[in-house]
């Protein structure tokens, strides 16, 4: 036990004290922030493009007024199309909008010509179409002599609000489903990244010990299994440390950015997501607020500990196999691919199973994917936000614990033989035989 602790300590400390670890851990949140700032700059850059638009209102439906908005500036000069076109060519205007007189009040499809030398961007086009549409509507209302207020009451916005059957269950709003899916996918994605990155870390560590021949020295003091387990626990600890630092650093940096630089990261993200859909800033702000209310309403007190448990189990399950693969590879790096393919494949498959599973988080695929131990670490945490039935979580955990213990055992058996073999190509059949070697 004491020896195991010494190994864990060494594996942990040598990694945590590395410059590369300190740099990546501290810099990644900053890069992430930088990424968001750059992206938001790119998005706002387009909005800053001022469009001066001259309108020729042949129909006389505009009343010479059109509200400037989103960097669109309108004017109604008393000039003909020909001279305005010249002004567009001279860059005095960005374009000329010619509104023809509708042939009758019943016309529903209305074509407006826009003369310009620039490319009309999608957002500008949508914005213009909507504005002109509203003007035409007002014009029709006035012409038909309808009461505008009465007409407004005809329009109703419908949103579906899911309500739980059982009393006391958490109430959900209409966008909850989307948010939970997004959160679930993110958790699954983080899981895939962590498990595959750390798996190869473990493998490289084992290969290094073998090619260095330090393993020959080590085994005269400790059992090979202790050596392997120590490495797994040490690297697992490094991962948890990194995540803990990020859990503190990410919110701090984002909060700091908001306070000192006035960058509203949340809104930027919503803007990024809604750009081009014609949603106004106010709507975006509302949406951001709603999303954040929804996200904070998720049962994080269940999801975070569960995520960590699944992360640890998944890590031990896969990393032990990576350690076994590393022990069998030794000097020959080209061997690595053959031996690690059976490990990366299930991770990738699980990830691709998770995507459709999140569309129907209580469907058959999601249910069995989150119970089957090989894919459970990726799919169950993603499902947790959707409150899956307790028996499924329990079953999934029991199977996962069992499989993890079994895989760690198998890997230990392969490892203890593999680390002593040099310059020999290893087949899977051979590795299978190693399981039954006596100590």
């Amino acid at each position: 036990m004491n020896k195991l602790w010494l190994i864990v300590q060494r594996e942990y400390l040598t990694r945590v004290q590395k410059k590369s670890f300190i740099l990546t851990t501290l810099l990644i949140p900053f890069f992430f922030l930088l990424f968001i700032v750059v992206v938001s700059f790119i998005f706002s850059y387009e909005e800053n493009e001022k469009n001066k638009i001259a309108i020729i209102d042949e129909a006389g439906i505009m009343n010479k007024t059109m509200k400037d908005e989103n960097d669109l500036y309108f004017s109604f000069p008393n000039e003909g199309l020909a001279s305005l076109k010249e002004k567009v060519a001279n860059k005095e205007y960005n374009g000329v909008l010619v509104i023809p007189k509708p042939s009758s009040i019943e016309v529903k499809d209305f074509t407006v010509n826009y003369y310009t030398e620039d490319q009309l961007s999608l957002t500008t086009q949508i914005s213009l179409e909507r504005k002109i549409g509203r003007k035409i509507r007002d014009y029709k209302i006035a012409t038909l002599g309808l009461d505008k207020n009465q007409l407004e009451t005809l329009q109703s916005n419908v949103s579906i609000d899911p309500e739980p059957i059982k009393e006391g269950a958490q109430n959900q709003s209409s966008i909850t489903g989307n948010i939970l899916t997004a959160v679930g996918m993110m958790l699954g994605f983080i899981m895939v990244m962590i498990i595959s990155i750390n798996g190869s870390q473990v493998m490289m560590g084992v290969m290094e010990e073998k090619t260095n021949r330090i393993v020959e020295v080590m085994v005269s003091s400790v059992k090979p299994f202790e050596l392997m387990l120590g490495k797994l626990i040490g690297i697992g600890g490094v991962t948890l440390t990194q995540m803990a630092i990020w859990a503190i650093l990410f919110p701090l940096i984002f909060l700091g950015a908001q306070l000192f630089m006035g960058i509203d990261t949340a809104q930027t993200q919503v803007e990024m997501a809604t750009a081009g859909s014609g949603i106004s800033d106010e709507q975006a702000q509302d949406m951001a607020l709603q999303i954040f209310t929804e996200i904070s309403a998720i049962n994080w007190w269940l999801i975070i500990p569960a995520f960590i448990i699944y992360l640890l189990l998944g890590f031990f399950m896969y990393s032990s196999l990576y350690a076994a693969a590393g022990s069998a590879i030794g000097d020959d790096l080209s061997e690595a691919q053959k031996l690690t393919l059976p490990l990366t494949l299930p991770i990738i498959l699980s990830f691709y199973t998770m995507i459709p599973a999140m569309q129907a988080p209580n469907g058959t695929l999601a249910t069995w994917g989150s119970i089957f131990p090989i894919s459970a670490p990726f799919i169950m945490p993603a499902r947790l936000a959707f409150d899956p039935p307790m028996w499924q979580v329990a079953l999934s955990l029991i199977l996962l614990i069992g499989t993890t213990v079994f895989f760690v055992w198998i890997s230990g058996r392969i490892y203890r033989v593999g680390i002593f073999l040099y310059g020999k190509k290893v087949t899977f059949t051979e590795m299978g035989k190693w399981l039954f070697y006596k100590d």
Binding site: R213, V219, S220
Partner: protein, 306 residues
């Protein structure tokens, strides 16, 4: 009581027997040679003694006690294939290995400083292993092997890759440790080294013991009763060994001012000497020719494979 006793040790792998019913004793305080060609089963035997693997059957006793999990801390093992963590600092590395051998932090530190002083490398603590030359790394390797002051030291090809200066340094350290009571097992196929340092040997081939005993006894056992006689002046022309009382001499080699004579029985050497003197030969030296361990090794290994 021997420091190490092996009784009918057998270890089989999937398709071959690495150690086939081997028994021998390593006397306490001795320097013991474990010899054999490559692939003879030396490393398999050492791995059993160091508890890295277990024997399929048979028993191993360390200092009279059946081998158990406490024993690795009493054994120092320097494997033939050896290495260190390249990125670790020398001091930290030795601390780590020493603590794994059961030393307390304090004791480990004391020992490291003791050896650093001894090898005059006191400023190495903060150096990274990868900054050291190969010879320097081997010094560290040696310190790591002996830092816990083991009762039994097992050195597998200890001098392979060592320069002459380090070889001498390590040799004298081994000597000193042996004089202080440490028993040492030397595993090698370099016979000239064995003759230099070992008192006892065991020869293994194809997993089986083919020879065992004190170096002097083994040599005697395999000697051919040959004598090399150097003389000044000249031999009488008619020197006939058969002139002596019986047919017990035979000149089997003649060099410039020397002859090699084989006697049929050991006690005949005096008679031979007397005979030569009586014939007026001026004898400069009269030496028994003993076989080198190398010769015995090659002969025995060859025979065992026939």
């Amino acid at each position: 009581m021997p420091i190490l006793r092996l009784e009918n040790v057998i270890k089989t792998y999937e398709n071959h027997t690495a150690v086939n019913n081997v028994s021998f004793d390593v006397p306490k305080g001795s320097v013991f040679g474990l010899l054999g060609p490559n692939g003879a089963g030396k490393t398999s035997l050492i791995r059993i003694i160091t508890t890295i693997t277990g024997a399929d059957s048979g028993a191993v006793y360390l200092d009279g006690e059946k081998l158990n999990s406490n024993h690795p801390s009493q054994i120092g093992y320097m494997p033939e294939e050896r290495g260190l963590y390249k990125k670790m600092k020398v001091g930290d590395h030795l601390m780590y290995l020493a603590q794994l051998k059961g030393l307390s932090k304090k004791a480990a530190k004391e020992q490291i400083h003791y050896w650093f002083d001894k090898f005059s490398i006191t400023d190495w603590w903060d150096k990274k292993v990868e900054e050291l030359s190969k010879g320097m790394q081997q010094k560290i390797q040696f310190i790591a092997t002996v830092i816990h002051r083991p009762k039994l030291l097992i050195l597998d090809e200890p001098f392979s890759g060592l320069d002459p200066i380090n070889t001498n340094l390590i040799k004298s350290e081994i000597d000193e440790m042996n004089q202080n009571g440490t028993s040492i097992i030397f595993s090698t196929h370099r016979m000239e080294q064995v003759e230099e340092v070992c008192e006892h040997i065991v020869l293994i081939n194809q997993g089986q013991k083919i020879l065992e005993g004190k170096v002097a006894d083994v040599k005697n056992q395999f000697k051919d009763n040959l004598y090399k006689i150097k003389y000044t002046g000249s031999l009488p022309d008619n020197l006939q060994m058969t002139d002596a009382a019986d047919d017990s001499y035979k000149i089997i080699g003649q060099g410039k001012k020397s002859i090699t004579v084989q006697v049929t029985e050991e006690s005949a050497s005096n008679k031979l000497l007397n005979y030569l003197i009586s014939k007026g030969v001026h004898i400069q030296s009269f030496n028994e020719i003993l076989p080198t361990l190398n010769e015995i090794f090659i002969k025995q290994v060859g025979e065992s494979e026939e």
